[in-house]
Amino acid sequence: MEKAFEHLQAAHCENGVTTALLRHQGLDFMTEPLAFGMGSGLFYIQIPFLTVNNGPAISFRTMPGAIFSRTCKSLEVRILRKRFSAESTAERYLDQLIAKGIPVGCQVGVFHLPYFPVEYRFHFNAHNLIVFGKEADRYQVSDPVMEITTTLTRDELTKVRFAKGPLSPRGQAYFPVNTVPVTEDMIRMGIKRGIRRNVRDMLRIPGGFAGVQGIRYTANRIRKWREKLGVRKAGLFLGQIVRMQEEIGTGGGGFRFLYGAFLEEAFGYIPDEGLLRLSEEFTKAGDMWRANAVKMAGVYRGRATEQADFDEIADRMEAIREVEKQAFRKLSELKSLN
């Protein structure tokens, strides 16, 4: 029996695709924060020496594709994932799945995505959407950042599936195949595993530019930006941080609110008051990130451009680092999670 696909709006595209596809498989408990937390989505990294769109290469979330893979794996849901070298093969594969009534997750580039506003069309290739049907000559598309579903022609869809550049999707299509019924125990295990992995990623990644240490790395860079780049370019760099942190897809506060929501939801499965307390800590971190965004905007507005302002931004990031470091440390010490 075919189940009608239900569109689901989410803060972040990959969470949204994961949640909607798993719910379609009958995993009705799945929510965006749960998918994000089980997939250990929270992160921080500044890749040294690399610039993206003429700004620093910073991310507040884990690598693309990881949330879907990890969450499915935790719930023992098998994944079929395929990349293609030929466009025609990719088109045929998708058509066959849709004909069978299977909604398919697709990685796409946003530069040629026609329903995106021009202002958002950079060469960003790690966007995700679901193709769930075909009507006349148009594919029905559920893009998790949108309030409603939309459509794309075959040419439009193929173009975005074969966008080029870093992280190019190469026609990547994926969907979950449910194998075993998911028990409450499996969900609990998935939550614990997700948190433990996130603790590891944030506290114990070596290199000094990822996890909580990465926040300090960026803070130290920012102190030098005014002198090194000049106020104008430094403002553009800070603007890029603000966009990575607050733009559509983050849920606000560099995904920190999303993580707070996850811990609150985790409490529903694992009744440990500590989870609620630590959820508050991530809310606090998110608020601090947002307050710092306002401060950074002072630079690119030209209102607060002294070295003291840059130092204050860096100091605030140090403070955020401390909050997140303590929160993850306490998470790692919660007995209910071991």
Partner: protein, 132 residues
């Protein structure tokens, strides 16, 4: 962020979508709210585009003055950096850098030019005839 603090500033999201924000409600629990945008990040996005438009004008100038080939202008116009350009055309970056020289560009054949034209979504004629 508290529910009542969610910004609703008009932004580039208009006519596209409102975005999901995770916020704390009066009971201190998380819920989602839709936002039309936030001034702070709207400005960041606008600044990024101002920068892009400046680069495009600089590129146009460079082509007009015969310092760079038309490819340089269209790369700026389509906000393509070297890795993106290289992946769309299949040329190595050092080859592309050669093609940015007007003297080399003038000698390029239609086959080579068409790979650029396709990446820029223009015709070979448009690419050839662009003078800045």
């Amino acid at each position: 962020m508290k529910k009542e603090e969610v910004p609703q500033d008009e932004s580039a999201l208009a006519n596209f979508t409102r975005e999901v924000c995770y916020v704390k409600n009066a009971a201190g629990r998380y819920e989602t709210v839709l936002s039309k945008g936030w001034e702070v990040k709207k400005l960041a996005l606008e600044n990024a585009w101002d920068e892009v438009h400046e680069r495009i004008e600089e590129a146009r100038e460079a082509v007009r003055n015969g310092e760079k080939s038309a490819i340089y202008y269209f790369m700026a116009l389509k906000i393509m950096d070297m890795p993106v350009m290289s992946d769309y055309t299949g040329f190595w970056p050092f080859v592309i850098r050669l093609h940015l020289r007007p003297a080399v560009f003038r000698r390029l054949g239609t086959k080579t030019l068409s790979r650029y034209a396709r990446a820029f979504e223009i015709s070979v004629e448009e690419l050839k005839n662009f003078k800045g």
